[in-house]
Protein backbone atom coordinates (compact mmCIF):
# COMPACT_ATOMS: atom_id res chain seq x y z
CA UNK A 1 0.00 0.00 0.00
CA UNK A 2 1.32 3.42 -0.95
CA UNK A 3 0.78 6.26 1.46
CA UNK A 4 0.35 9.78 0.26
CA UNK A 5 2.56 12.40 1.85
CA UNK A 6 0.54 14.96 3.84
CA UNK A 7 0.12 18.11 1.76
CA UNK A 8 -1.81 20.36 4.09
CA UNK A 9 -1.14 21.19 7.76
CA UNK A 10 -4.65 19.90 8.49
CA UNK A 11 -3.54 16.42 7.31
CA UNK A 12 -1.54 16.17 10.54
CA UNK A 13 -4.68 16.70 12.63
CA UNK A 14 -5.26 12.99 13.44
CA UNK A 15 -1.92 12.78 15.27
CA UNK A 16 -2.48 16.06 17.13
CA UNK A 17 -4.34 14.45 20.03
CA UNK A 18 -1.92 11.58 20.69
CA UNK A 19 0.91 14.06 20.22
CA UNK A 20 -0.56 16.37 22.80
CA UNK A 21 -1.05 13.49 25.24
CA UNK A 22 2.54 12.38 24.75
CA UNK A 23 3.80 15.91 25.47
CA UNK A 24 1.62 16.42 28.56
CA UNK A 25 2.08 12.98 30.12
CA UNK A 26 5.54 11.95 28.95
CA UNK A 27 7.75 14.75 27.63
CA UNK A 28 6.90 17.25 30.38
CA UNK A 29 7.28 14.85 33.37
CA UNK A 30 10.42 13.29 31.89
CA UNK A 31 11.87 16.75 31.21
CA UNK A 32 11.08 17.77 34.78
CA UNK A 33 12.82 14.64 36.03
CA UNK A 34 15.93 15.33 33.97
CA UNK A 35 15.97 18.91 35.28
CA UNK A 36 15.52 17.77 38.90
CA UNK A 37 18.37 15.27 38.52
CA UNK A 38 20.75 18.25 38.19
CA UNK A 39 19.27 20.11 41.17
CA UNK A 40 20.89 20.37 44.56
CA UNK A 41 19.35 18.65 47.53
CA UNK A 42 18.32 20.91 50.35
CA UNK A 43 18.34 18.80 53.57
CA UNK A 44 16.19 21.35 55.34
CA UNK A 45 13.61 21.67 52.61
CA UNK A 46 13.23 19.61 49.48
CA UNK A 47 15.57 20.71 46.67
CA UNK A 48 16.89 23.93 45.18
CA UNK A 49 17.32 24.67 41.46
CA UNK A 50 20.93 24.36 40.42
CA UNK A 51 23.14 22.62 37.87
CA UNK A 52 25.39 20.12 39.65
CA UNK A 53 26.58 16.63 38.76
CA UNK A 54 26.75 15.50 42.41
CA UNK A 55 23.75 13.20 42.06
CA UNK A 56 25.29 11.33 39.12
CA UNK A 57 28.68 11.28 40.80
CA UNK A 58 27.20 9.63 43.89
CA UNK A 59 25.63 7.01 41.74
CA UNK A 60 28.97 5.91 40.29
CA UNK A 61 29.84 3.52 43.10
CA UNK A 62 30.30 -0.23 43.29
CA UNK A 63 27.15 -0.58 45.40
CA UNK A 64 24.89 1.05 42.82
CA UNK A 65 26.65 -0.72 39.96
CA UNK A 66 25.86 -4.01 41.68
CA UNK A 67 22.22 -3.06 42.18
CA UNK A 68 21.93 -1.93 38.57
CA UNK A 69 23.56 -5.16 37.39
CA UNK A 70 21.23 -7.27 39.54
CA UNK A 71 18.16 -5.31 38.30
CA UNK A 72 19.08 -5.93 34.67
CA UNK A 73 19.86 -9.60 35.37
CA UNK A 74 16.56 -10.11 37.22
CA UNK A 75 14.50 -8.38 34.53
CA UNK A 76 16.21 -10.38 31.76
CA UNK A 77 15.70 -13.66 33.64
CA UNK A 78 12.01 -12.84 34.20
CA UNK A 79 11.65 -11.97 30.49
CA UNK A 80 13.31 -15.15 29.25
CA UNK A 81 11.50 -17.45 31.70
CA UNK A 82 8.13 -15.82 30.91
CA UNK A 83 8.60 -16.17 27.16
CA UNK A 84 9.92 -19.73 27.49
CA UNK A 85 6.79 -20.69 29.46
CA UNK A 86 4.32 -18.60 27.48
CA UNK A 87 5.41 -19.77 24.00
CA UNK A 88 4.45 -23.47 24.33
CA UNK A 89 1.41 -22.48 26.41
CA UNK A 90 0.12 -20.01 23.80
CA UNK A 91 0.93 -22.43 20.97
CA UNK A 92 -1.32 -25.05 22.60
CA UNK A 93 -3.93 -22.42 23.51
CA UNK A 94 -4.20 -21.34 19.86
CA UNK A 95 -5.08 -24.92 18.88
CA UNK A 96 -7.93 -25.27 21.40
CA UNK A 97 -11.57 -24.83 20.36
CA UNK A 98 -12.70 -21.21 20.28
CA UNK A 99 -14.76 -21.49 23.49
CA UNK A 100 -11.92 -22.95 25.55
CA UNK A 101 -9.62 -20.20 24.25
CA UNK A 102 -12.01 -17.50 25.47
CA UNK A 103 -12.17 -19.08 28.95
CA UNK A 104 -8.36 -19.19 29.18
CA UNK A 105 -7.94 -15.62 27.92
CA UNK A 106 -10.54 -14.29 30.38
CA UNK A 107 -8.76 -16.13 33.22
CA UNK A 108 -5.45 -14.55 32.17
CA UNK A 109 -7.02 -11.11 31.92
CA UNK A 110 -8.40 -11.50 35.45
CA UNK A 111 -4.84 -12.08 36.72
CA UNK A 112 -3.98 -8.69 35.21
CA UNK A 113 -6.61 -7.08 37.40
CA UNK A 114 -4.71 -8.15 40.55
CA UNK A 115 -2.49 -5.48 42.00
CA UNK A 116 1.20 -6.08 42.61
CA UNK A 117 0.53 -5.86 46.38
CA UNK A 118 -2.02 -8.67 46.30
CA UNK A 119 0.22 -10.85 44.12
CA UNK A 120 3.13 -10.21 46.50
CA UNK A 121 1.23 -11.11 49.67
CA UNK A 122 -0.45 -14.11 48.05
CA UNK A 123 2.92 -15.57 47.04
CA UNK A 124 4.56 -14.77 50.35
CA UNK A 125 1.79 -16.73 52.08
CA UNK A 126 1.96 -19.52 49.54
CA UNK A 127 5.73 -19.85 49.99
CA UNK A 128 5.75 -19.41 53.76
CA UNK A 129 6.66 -22.13 56.25
CA UNK A 130 3.45 -22.02 58.28
CA UNK A 131 0.82 -21.91 55.52
CA UNK A 132 2.76 -22.58 52.34
CA UNK A 133 2.82 -25.32 49.72
CA UNK A 134 5.62 -27.16 51.50
CA UNK A 135 2.97 -28.28 54.04
CA UNK A 136 1.21 -29.93 51.13
CA UNK A 137 4.46 -31.67 50.12
CA UNK A 138 4.89 -32.91 53.71
CA UNK A 139 1.33 -34.21 53.70
CA UNK A 140 2.03 -35.99 50.39
CA UNK A 141 5.20 -37.44 51.86
CA UNK A 142 7.54 -35.75 49.36
CA UNK A 143 9.15 -33.58 52.03
CA UNK A 144 10.25 -34.24 55.63
CA UNK A 145 9.46 -30.87 57.12
CA UNK A 146 7.72 -27.67 56.08
CA UNK A 147 10.14 -24.95 54.91
CA UNK A 148 10.02 -21.25 54.22
CA UNK A 149 10.71 -20.66 50.51
CA UNK A 150 10.59 -16.91 50.91
CA UNK A 151 12.39 -14.54 51.07
CA UNK A 152 14.65 -15.79 48.31
CA UNK A 153 15.65 -15.11 44.72
CA UNK A 154 13.41 -17.98 43.58
CA UNK A 155 10.43 -16.38 45.30
CA UNK A 156 11.09 -13.00 43.64
CA UNK A 157 11.46 -14.69 40.26
CA UNK A 158 8.28 -16.75 40.74
CA UNK A 159 6.21 -13.73 41.74
CA UNK A 160 7.47 -11.60 38.87
CA UNK A 161 7.02 -14.35 36.26
CA UNK A 162 3.49 -14.90 37.59
CA UNK A 163 2.81 -11.22 37.09
CA UNK A 164 4.40 -10.99 33.64
CA UNK A 165 3.01 -14.26 32.24
CA UNK A 166 -0.47 -12.95 31.21
CA UNK A 167 1.11 -10.00 29.39
CA UNK A 168 3.48 -12.33 27.60
CA UNK A 169 0.66 -14.62 26.47
CA UNK A 170 -1.47 -11.70 25.28
CA UNK A 171 1.42 -10.26 23.27
CA UNK A 172 2.35 -13.62 21.72
CA UNK A 173 -1.23 -14.73 21.05
CA UNK A 174 -2.00 -12.72 17.84
CA UNK A 175 1.27 -13.71 16.17
CA UNK A 176 0.84 -17.38 17.04
CA UNK A 177 -2.78 -17.45 15.87
CA UNK A 178 -1.69 -15.90 12.56
CA UNK A 179 1.06 -18.48 12.09
CA UNK A 180 -0.03 -20.86 9.31
CA UNK A 181 -0.76 -24.22 11.03
CA UNK A 182 0.15 -26.04 7.81
CA UNK A 183 3.79 -25.01 8.43
CA UNK A 184 3.94 -27.48 11.32
CA UNK A 185 2.07 -30.09 9.31
CA UNK A 186 4.45 -29.62 6.39
CA UNK A 187 7.42 -30.10 8.73
CA UNK A 188 5.86 -33.33 9.98
CA UNK A 189 5.31 -34.71 6.47
CA UNK A 190 8.95 -33.83 5.76
CA UNK A 191 10.14 -36.02 8.62
CA UNK A 192 10.18 -33.81 11.72
CA UNK A 193 8.65 -35.12 14.96
CA UNK A 194 6.16 -32.68 16.56
CA UNK A 195 8.85 -31.49 19.02
CA UNK A 196 11.43 -31.03 16.25
CA UNK A 197 8.86 -29.22 14.11
CA UNK A 198 8.21 -26.83 17.01
CA UNK A 199 11.90 -25.94 17.38
CA UNK A 200 12.84 -25.90 13.68
CA UNK A 201 9.75 -24.16 12.31
CA UNK A 202 7.52 -22.47 14.92
CA UNK A 203 10.30 -20.88 17.01
CA UNK A 204 12.38 -19.53 14.08
CA UNK A 205 9.28 -18.33 12.22
CA UNK A 206 8.28 -16.33 15.32
CA UNK A 207 11.80 -15.02 15.97
CA UNK A 208 11.04 -11.31 15.61
CA UNK A 209 7.90 -11.59 17.74
CA UNK A 210 9.84 -13.43 20.43
CA UNK A 211 12.58 -10.78 20.51
CA UNK A 212 9.97 -8.01 20.75
CA UNK A 213 8.17 -9.85 23.56
CA UNK A 214 11.38 -10.40 25.53
CA UNK A 215 12.11 -6.65 25.27
CA UNK A 216 8.59 -5.78 26.42
CA UNK A 217 8.62 -8.11 29.43
CA UNK A 218 12.18 -6.97 30.27
CA UNK A 219 11.08 -3.34 30.50
CA UNK A 220 7.94 -4.31 32.40
CA UNK A 221 9.99 -6.31 34.93
CA UNK A 222 12.56 -3.54 35.32
CA UNK A 223 9.91 -1.26 36.78
CA UNK A 224 8.82 -3.74 39.44
CA UNK A 225 9.63 -2.46 42.95
CA UNK A 226 7.10 -4.10 45.29
CA UNK A 227 7.66 -7.80 44.64
CA UNK A 228 11.44 -7.74 45.29
CA UNK A 229 10.72 -6.13 48.68
CA UNK A 230 7.88 -8.49 49.58
CA UNK A 231 9.49 -11.72 48.43
CA UNK A 232 13.24 -11.03 48.48
CA UNK A 233 16.07 -10.15 50.82
CA UNK A 234 17.75 -6.72 50.61
CA UNK A 235 20.33 -8.12 48.17
CA UNK A 236 17.45 -8.90 45.81
CA UNK A 237 16.26 -5.33 45.74
CA UNK A 238 16.24 -3.71 42.37
CA UNK A 239 17.19 -0.18 41.38
CA UNK A 240 13.48 0.67 41.32
CA UNK A 241 13.31 -0.15 45.03
CA UNK A 242 16.23 2.20 45.73
CA UNK A 243 14.67 4.94 43.62
CA UNK A 244 11.42 4.65 45.58
CA UNK A 245 13.36 4.64 48.81
CA UNK A 246 15.29 7.81 47.90
CA UNK A 247 12.28 9.63 46.50
CA UNK A 248 9.72 8.82 49.18
CA UNK A 249 11.48 7.87 52.40
CA UNK A 250 14.75 9.85 52.12
CA UNK A 251 13.09 12.81 50.37
CA UNK A 252 16.10 13.00 48.04
CA UNK A 253 14.35 13.82 44.79
CA UNK A 254 17.42 14.91 42.84
CA UNK A 255 19.26 11.64 43.53
CA UNK A 256 16.16 9.54 42.78
CA UNK A 257 15.73 11.47 39.53
CA UNK A 258 19.35 10.90 38.58
CA UNK A 259 19.02 7.14 39.14
CA UNK A 260 15.78 7.04 37.15
CA UNK A 261 17.37 8.93 34.23
CA UNK A 262 20.33 6.57 34.29
CA UNK A 263 18.03 3.53 34.34
CA UNK A 264 16.08 4.87 31.36
CA UNK A 265 19.32 5.47 29.41
CA UNK A 266 20.64 1.97 30.12
CA UNK A 267 17.29 0.44 29.16
CA UNK A 268 17.10 2.40 25.90
CA UNK A 269 20.65 1.32 25.10
CA UNK A 270 19.84 -2.35 25.68
CA UNK A 271 16.62 -2.19 23.64
CA UNK A 272 18.43 -0.46 20.77
CA UNK A 273 21.10 -3.17 20.88
CA UNK A 274 18.47 -5.95 20.79
CA UNK A 275 16.71 -4.34 17.83
CA UNK A 276 20.03 -3.97 15.99
CA UNK A 277 20.94 -7.62 16.58
CA UNK A 278 17.45 -8.61 15.42
CA UNK A 279 17.89 -6.61 12.19
CA UNK A 280 21.25 -8.17 11.48
CA UNK A 281 19.79 -11.68 11.78
CA UNK A 282 17.05 -10.78 9.35
CA UNK A 283 19.25 -9.48 6.51
Amino acid sequence: MRREAPRHPLDYLPIAFPGLMLVVFFVVPFGTMIAVSFFRRDPAGFYAPDFVFDNYARFLSLFFANVLGFSLFLAMTVAIVSVALALPFTHMLARLPRKAQVVWLVALLSVLSLSEVIIGFAWSTLLSRTAGITNLFVWLGIMEQAQALTPSFGAVLTGMVYQAFPYTVLVLYPAIVRLDPTLTEAARTLGASPLKAFFTVVVPALRNTLVATVVMVFIFALGSYLLPQLLGRPQHWTLSVLITDQAIYQSNMPFAAAMAVFLVLVTLGLVAMTVLIGRKGEA
Partner: protein, 343 residues
Protein backbone atom coordinates in the same frame (compact mmCIF):
# COMPACT_ATOMS: atom_id res chain seq x y z
CA UNK B 1 4.94 -55.25 -5.04
CA UNK B 2 1.62 -53.73 -4.22
CA UNK B 3 1.28 -49.97 -3.86
CA UNK B 4 -1.11 -48.06 -1.65
CA UNK B 5 -4.31 -49.72 -0.50
CA UNK B 6 -7.19 -48.18 1.42
CA UNK B 7 -9.50 -50.68 3.09
CA UNK B 8 -12.93 -49.51 4.24
CA UNK B 9 -11.52 -46.21 5.52
CA UNK B 10 -14.00 -44.18 7.57
CA UNK B 11 -13.48 -40.76 9.11
CA UNK B 12 -15.97 -39.21 11.50
CA UNK B 13 -15.75 -35.72 12.98
CA UNK B 14 -18.20 -35.85 15.87
CA UNK B 15 -21.55 -36.74 14.34
CA UNK B 16 -20.43 -35.80 10.82
CA UNK B 17 -19.03 -38.56 8.62
CA UNK B 18 -16.54 -37.03 6.20
CA UNK B 19 -15.40 -40.28 4.58
CA UNK B 20 -17.80 -43.21 4.44
CA UNK B 21 -15.95 -46.45 3.92
CA UNK B 22 -13.55 -45.94 1.03
CA UNK B 23 -11.80 -48.84 -0.71
CA UNK B 24 -9.08 -47.93 -3.19
CA UNK B 25 -6.06 -49.64 -4.72
CA UNK B 26 -3.28 -47.47 -6.11
CA UNK B 27 -0.66 -49.56 -7.96
CA UNK B 28 2.97 -48.38 -7.77
CA UNK B 29 3.92 -45.61 -10.17
CA UNK B 30 0.40 -44.51 -11.02
CA UNK B 31 -1.00 -41.00 -10.91
CA UNK B 32 -4.36 -40.78 -9.16
CA UNK B 33 -6.58 -37.70 -8.95
CA UNK B 34 -9.16 -37.45 -6.18
CA UNK B 35 -11.82 -35.30 -7.81
CA UNK B 36 -15.01 -33.91 -6.35
CA UNK B 37 -16.87 -30.80 -5.21
CA UNK B 38 -15.73 -29.08 -2.01
CA UNK B 39 -16.70 -30.95 1.13
CA UNK B 40 -16.75 -34.36 -0.58
CA UNK B 41 -14.07 -35.76 1.73
CA UNK B 42 -11.19 -35.83 -0.76
CA UNK B 43 -8.84 -33.67 1.33
CA UNK B 44 -9.68 -35.64 4.48
CA UNK B 45 -8.83 -38.83 2.60
CA UNK B 46 -5.47 -37.39 1.53
CA UNK B 47 -4.72 -36.21 5.06
CA UNK B 48 -5.37 -39.73 6.34
CA UNK B 49 -2.97 -41.15 3.77
CA UNK B 50 -0.41 -38.58 4.99
CA UNK B 51 -1.10 -39.46 8.62
CA UNK B 52 -2.20 -35.92 9.53
CA UNK B 53 -5.66 -37.27 10.43
CA UNK B 54 -6.30 -40.73 11.86
CA UNK B 55 -9.07 -42.84 10.31
CA UNK B 56 -11.94 -43.67 12.67
CA UNK B 57 -12.06 -47.16 11.14
CA UNK B 58 -10.35 -49.03 8.36
CA UNK B 59 -6.76 -49.66 7.32
CA UNK B 60 -4.18 -47.97 5.11
CA UNK B 61 -1.44 -50.16 3.62
CA UNK B 62 1.68 -49.10 1.77
CA UNK B 63 3.77 -51.77 0.06
CA UNK B 64 1.86 -54.46 1.94
CA UNK B 65 2.63 -52.91 5.32
CA UNK B 66 -0.09 -51.53 7.58
CA UNK B 67 0.74 -47.84 8.13
CA UNK B 68 -2.61 -46.79 9.64
CA UNK B 69 -1.04 -45.92 13.01
CA UNK B 70 2.43 -44.86 11.81
CA UNK B 71 3.02 -41.17 12.67
CA UNK B 72 3.39 -38.76 9.74
CA UNK B 73 7.10 -38.10 10.21
CA UNK B 74 7.93 -41.80 9.95
CA UNK B 75 5.99 -42.42 6.72
CA UNK B 76 8.73 -41.00 4.45
CA UNK B 77 6.37 -39.33 2.04
CA UNK B 78 6.33 -36.03 0.23
CA UNK B 79 3.40 -33.68 0.43
CA UNK B 80 2.57 -30.34 -1.19
CA UNK B 81 -0.02 -28.27 0.65
CA UNK B 82 -2.61 -25.95 -0.87
CA UNK B 83 -0.94 -23.03 0.92
CA UNK B 84 2.45 -24.54 -0.13
CA UNK B 85 3.61 -24.02 3.50
CA UNK B 86 7.11 -22.90 2.51
CA UNK B 87 9.08 -21.97 5.62
CA UNK B 88 9.29 -18.15 5.56
CA UNK B 89 12.46 -18.00 7.67
CA UNK B 90 14.47 -20.22 5.31
CA UNK B 91 15.90 -19.58 1.84
CA UNK B 92 14.93 -21.60 -1.23
CA UNK B 93 17.90 -23.93 -0.74
CA UNK B 94 17.27 -24.34 3.00
CA UNK B 95 13.61 -25.10 2.37
CA UNK B 96 14.51 -27.87 -0.08
CA UNK B 97 17.22 -29.19 2.25
CA UNK B 98 14.89 -29.25 5.29
CA UNK B 99 13.83 -32.94 5.05
CA UNK B 100 17.50 -33.90 4.50
CA UNK B 101 18.69 -31.79 7.45
CA UNK B 102 16.02 -33.32 9.73
CA UNK B 103 17.30 -36.78 8.78
CA UNK B 104 20.86 -35.80 9.66
CA UNK B 105 22.28 -36.19 6.14
CA UNK B 106 25.73 -34.57 5.86
CA UNK B 107 26.05 -31.03 4.50
CA UNK B 108 27.86 -31.94 1.27
CA UNK B 109 25.25 -34.53 0.30
CA UNK B 110 22.50 -32.03 1.15
CA UNK B 111 24.07 -29.41 -1.11
CA UNK B 112 24.44 -31.89 -3.99
CA UNK B 113 20.82 -33.00 -3.73
CA UNK B 114 19.58 -29.38 -3.56
CA UNK B 115 21.53 -28.58 -6.75
CA UNK B 116 20.01 -31.63 -8.47
CA UNK B 117 16.48 -30.65 -7.44
CA UNK B 118 16.94 -26.99 -8.40
CA UNK B 119 18.04 -28.16 -11.86
CA UNK B 120 14.98 -30.41 -12.05
CA UNK B 121 12.59 -27.52 -11.33
CA UNK B 122 14.50 -25.08 -13.59
CA UNK B 123 15.52 -22.79 -10.72
CA UNK B 124 19.30 -23.15 -10.84
CA UNK B 125 21.06 -20.38 -8.92
CA UNK B 126 18.05 -19.59 -6.75
CA UNK B 127 19.31 -21.44 -3.66
CA UNK B 128 20.14 -18.34 -1.63
CA UNK B 129 16.99 -16.35 -2.37
CA UNK B 130 14.38 -15.85 0.33
CA UNK B 131 11.12 -17.61 -0.58
CA UNK B 132 9.21 -14.34 -0.25
CA UNK B 133 11.03 -13.04 -3.35
CA UNK B 134 9.69 -15.77 -5.65
CA UNK B 135 6.72 -15.67 -8.03
CA UNK B 136 3.72 -17.95 -7.54
CA UNK B 137 4.93 -20.53 -10.05
CA UNK B 138 8.44 -20.55 -8.62
CA UNK B 139 7.12 -21.06 -5.07
CA UNK B 140 5.05 -23.91 -6.44
CA UNK B 141 8.15 -25.55 -7.89
CA UNK B 142 10.11 -25.11 -4.66
CA UNK B 143 7.30 -26.81 -2.70
CA UNK B 144 7.40 -29.72 -5.16
CA UNK B 145 11.20 -30.00 -4.95
CA UNK B 146 11.10 -29.95 -1.13
CA UNK B 147 8.52 -32.74 -1.08
CA UNK B 148 10.62 -34.85 -3.49
CA UNK B 149 13.98 -34.23 -1.78
CA UNK B 150 14.11 -37.62 -0.03
CA UNK B 151 12.81 -39.48 -3.15
CA UNK B 152 9.66 -40.60 -1.31
CA UNK B 153 7.60 -43.66 -2.26
CA UNK B 154 4.44 -41.63 -2.15
CA UNK B 155 3.86 -38.09 -3.42
CA UNK B 156 0.74 -36.31 -2.18
CA UNK B 157 -0.58 -32.96 -3.40
CA UNK B 158 -3.56 -31.07 -1.96
CA UNK B 159 -5.02 -28.67 -4.55
CA UNK B 160 -1.44 -27.76 -5.46
CA UNK B 161 -2.19 -25.47 -8.39
CA UNK B 162 -5.26 -23.62 -7.14
CA UNK B 163 -3.32 -20.44 -6.29
CA UNK B 164 -1.96 -20.03 -9.84
CA UNK B 165 -3.60 -18.16 -12.70
CA UNK B 166 -5.28 -20.20 -15.43
CA UNK B 167 -2.44 -20.18 -17.99
CA UNK B 168 0.29 -21.05 -15.51
CA UNK B 169 -1.92 -23.73 -14.00
CA UNK B 170 -2.30 -25.52 -17.33
CA UNK B 171 1.44 -25.36 -17.96
CA UNK B 172 2.17 -26.71 -14.46
CA UNK B 173 -0.30 -29.57 -14.96
CA UNK B 174 1.66 -30.77 -17.97
CA UNK B 175 4.96 -30.25 -16.15
CA UNK B 176 3.78 -32.13 -13.07
CA UNK B 177 2.59 -35.06 -15.18
CA UNK B 178 5.89 -35.23 -17.08
CA UNK B 179 7.84 -35.06 -13.82
CA UNK B 180 5.78 -37.87 -12.31
CA UNK B 181 6.30 -40.04 -15.39
CA UNK B 182 10.05 -39.49 -15.45
CA UNK B 183 10.36 -40.31 -11.72
CA UNK B 184 7.79 -43.12 -11.79
CA UNK B 185 6.54 -42.08 -8.37
CA UNK B 186 3.13 -43.02 -6.98
CA UNK B 187 1.25 -39.74 -6.88
CA UNK B 188 -2.11 -38.72 -5.43
CA UNK B 189 -3.52 -35.28 -6.19
CA UNK B 190 -6.64 -33.73 -4.71
CA UNK B 191 -8.42 -31.35 -7.04
CA UNK B 192 -11.85 -29.93 -7.77
CA UNK B 193 -10.86 -29.05 -11.34
CA UNK B 194 -11.94 -31.79 -13.74
CA UNK B 195 -9.69 -30.48 -16.55
CA UNK B 196 -6.73 -30.83 -14.18
CA UNK B 197 -7.71 -34.39 -13.33
CA UNK B 198 -8.21 -35.31 -17.02
CA UNK B 199 -4.81 -33.80 -17.94
CA UNK B 200 -2.71 -35.54 -15.33
CA UNK B 201 -4.26 -38.72 -14.03
CA UNK B 202 -3.96 -42.39 -14.91
CA UNK B 203 -6.97 -42.96 -12.68
CA UNK B 204 -9.60 -40.40 -11.76
CA UNK B 205 -11.46 -41.08 -8.52
CA UNK B 206 -14.72 -39.11 -8.47
CA UNK B 207 -15.97 -38.54 -4.94
CA UNK B 208 -19.18 -37.13 -3.56
CA UNK B 209 -20.43 -36.88 0.03
CA UNK B 210 -17.63 -39.04 1.41
CA UNK B 211 -18.01 -41.86 -1.10
CA UNK B 212 -16.27 -42.93 -4.30
CA UNK B 213 -18.75 -42.69 -7.17
CA UNK B 214 -16.39 -44.00 -9.83
CA UNK B 215 -12.70 -44.79 -10.17
CA UNK B 216 -11.48 -45.29 -13.75
CA UNK B 217 -9.27 -43.84 -16.46
CA UNK B 218 -10.13 -40.29 -17.55
CA UNK B 219 -11.51 -41.36 -20.92
CA UNK B 220 -13.65 -44.09 -19.39
CA UNK B 221 -15.00 -41.66 -16.80
CA UNK B 222 -15.91 -39.32 -19.66
CA UNK B 223 -17.28 -41.91 -22.09
CA UNK B 224 -18.85 -44.31 -19.58
CA UNK B 225 -19.89 -42.35 -16.45
CA UNK B 226 -21.29 -44.64 -13.77
CA UNK B 227 -24.12 -42.40 -12.68
CA UNK B 228 -25.76 -39.03 -13.26
CA UNK B 229 -23.48 -37.29 -10.71
CA UNK B 230 -20.32 -38.38 -12.52
CA UNK B 231 -21.83 -37.65 -15.95
CA UNK B 232 -22.79 -34.15 -14.87
CA UNK B 233 -19.58 -33.40 -12.90
CA UNK B 234 -17.19 -34.46 -15.67
CA UNK B 235 -17.67 -32.15 -18.62
CA UNK B 236 -21.04 -31.12 -19.97
CA UNK B 237 -23.81 -33.57 -20.64
CA UNK B 238 -27.47 -33.83 -21.53
CA UNK B 239 -29.53 -36.00 -19.21
CA UNK B 240 -32.49 -37.39 -21.17
CA UNK B 241 -35.24 -39.63 -19.81
CA UNK B 242 -36.01 -42.76 -21.79
CA UNK B 243 -38.55 -45.52 -21.35
CA UNK B 244 -38.64 -49.07 -22.60
CA UNK B 245 -41.25 -49.94 -25.18
CA UNK B 246 -41.03 -53.55 -26.29
CA UNK B 247 -37.47 -53.96 -25.06
CA UNK B 248 -36.22 -50.94 -26.99
CA UNK B 249 -35.46 -47.59 -25.42
CA UNK B 250 -37.50 -44.70 -26.69
CA UNK B 251 -37.26 -40.98 -26.10
CA UNK B 252 -40.46 -38.93 -26.41
CA UNK B 253 -42.08 -41.87 -28.18
CA UNK B 254 -39.30 -42.24 -30.77
CA UNK B 255 -37.27 -45.44 -30.57
CA UNK B 256 -33.47 -45.18 -30.31
CA UNK B 257 -32.07 -47.71 -32.82
CA UNK B 258 -30.07 -50.47 -31.19
CA UNK B 259 -30.53 -49.33 -27.57
CA UNK B 260 -32.19 -52.00 -25.45
CA UNK B 261 -33.71 -51.53 -22.01
CA UNK B 262 -35.39 -54.02 -19.68
CA UNK B 263 -39.11 -54.02 -20.49
CA UNK B 264 -41.33 -51.55 -18.65
CA UNK B 265 -38.30 -49.78 -17.16
CA UNK B 266 -37.38 -46.14 -17.18
CA UNK B 267 -33.83 -44.95 -17.51
CA UNK B 268 -31.75 -41.80 -17.64
CA UNK B 269 -29.52 -41.41 -20.68
CA UNK B 270 -26.39 -39.28 -20.74
CA UNK B 271 -25.60 -37.83 -24.15
CA UNK B 272 -22.53 -35.61 -24.53
CA UNK B 273 -23.26 -32.35 -26.45
CA UNK B 274 -20.81 -33.33 -29.23
CA UNK B 275 -22.83 -36.55 -29.75
CA UNK B 276 -26.11 -34.73 -30.36
CA UNK B 277 -26.56 -34.83 -34.17
CA UNK B 278 -29.15 -32.55 -35.74
CA UNK B 279 -31.16 -33.70 -38.76
CA UNK B 280 -34.43 -32.84 -40.43
CA UNK B 281 -37.49 -33.55 -38.26
CA UNK B 282 -39.45 -36.77 -38.65
CA UNK B 283 -38.40 -40.38 -39.17
CA UNK B 284 -36.33 -41.86 -36.35
CA UNK B 285 -35.29 -38.44 -35.06
CA UNK B 286 -36.55 -36.97 -31.77
CA UNK B 287 -38.48 -33.76 -32.51
CA UNK B 288 -37.06 -30.53 -31.04
CA UNK B 289 -37.12 -26.76 -31.49
CA UNK B 290 -34.08 -24.46 -31.65
CA UNK B 291 -34.24 -21.90 -28.81
CA UNK B 292 -30.80 -20.24 -29.02
CA UNK B 293 -27.57 -20.45 -30.98
CA UNK B 294 -24.28 -19.46 -29.35
CA UNK B 295 -21.49 -19.15 -31.92
CA UNK B 296 -18.18 -19.06 -30.06
CA UNK B 297 -16.05 -19.23 -33.20
CA UNK B 298 -14.24 -22.43 -32.28
CA UNK B 299 -17.44 -24.25 -31.37
CA UNK B 300 -21.12 -23.63 -31.95
CA UNK B 301 -23.61 -24.46 -29.20
CA UNK B 302 -27.19 -25.02 -30.28
CA UNK B 303 -29.78 -24.95 -27.49
CA UNK B 304 -32.82 -27.10 -28.20
CA UNK B 305 -36.14 -27.74 -26.54
CA UNK B 306 -37.19 -31.38 -26.72
CA UNK B 307 -40.50 -32.01 -25.03
CA UNK B 308 -39.84 -29.37 -22.35
CA UNK B 309 -36.29 -30.50 -21.62
CA UNK B 310 -33.26 -28.50 -22.68
CA UNK B 311 -30.73 -30.29 -24.85
CA UNK B 312 -27.44 -28.72 -25.95
CA UNK B 313 -25.64 -29.72 -29.13
CA UNK B 314 -22.04 -28.72 -29.78
CA UNK B 315 -20.56 -28.73 -33.25
CA UNK B 316 -17.40 -27.52 -34.96
CA UNK B 317 -17.50 -24.77 -37.61
CA UNK B 318 -16.85 -27.44 -40.29
CA UNK B 319 -20.16 -29.17 -39.50
CA UNK B 320 -22.03 -25.96 -38.70
CA UNK B 321 -25.76 -26.72 -38.49
CA UNK B 322 -27.80 -24.43 -40.76
CA UNK B 323 -30.50 -23.66 -38.22
CA UNK B 324 -32.16 -20.57 -36.82
CA UNK B 325 -34.07 -19.86 -33.60
CA UNK B 326 -37.61 -21.26 -33.68
CA UNK B 327 -36.87 -23.83 -36.36
CA UNK B 328 -38.16 -27.38 -35.88
CA UNK B 329 -35.35 -29.96 -36.14
CA UNK B 330 -34.75 -33.61 -35.30
CA UNK B 331 -32.19 -35.13 -32.89
CA UNK B 332 -30.74 -38.34 -34.26
CA UNK B 333 -29.78 -40.55 -31.31
CA UNK B 334 -27.82 -43.78 -31.77
CA UNK B 335 -27.03 -46.49 -29.24
CA UNK B 336 -23.28 -45.71 -29.11
CA UNK B 337 -23.92 -42.03 -28.28
CA UNK B 338 -26.07 -42.81 -25.26
CA UNK B 339 -24.89 -44.01 -21.86
CA UNK B 340 -27.58 -45.65 -19.75
CA UNK B 341 -27.04 -44.41 -16.18
CA UNK B 342 -27.71 -46.46 -13.08
CA UNK B 343 -30.92 -45.16 -11.59
Amino acid sequence: MSGLALQNVVKEFGSFTAVKGVDLEVPNGTFVCLLGPSGCGKTTLLRMIAGLDLPTRGAIRLGGEDITAVPTHKRNLGMVFQSLALFPHLTVGENIAYPLRIRGIDKAAQARRVEELLAMIHLKGYADRPVSKLSGGQRQRVAIARALAISPKLFLLDEPLSALDAKLREAMQVELRQLQQSLGITTIVVTHDQREAMTMADTVVVMQAGEIRQAASPIEIYRRPADSFVADFIGQTNLIEAEATGGVASVLGVAVPGLTLPAGGKALLSVRPEDVHLTAPGGSAVPATVTFVRDLGGTIETFLDAGGRQVVAVSTPRERPEVSVGQAVGIQLTAEDCVVLKS
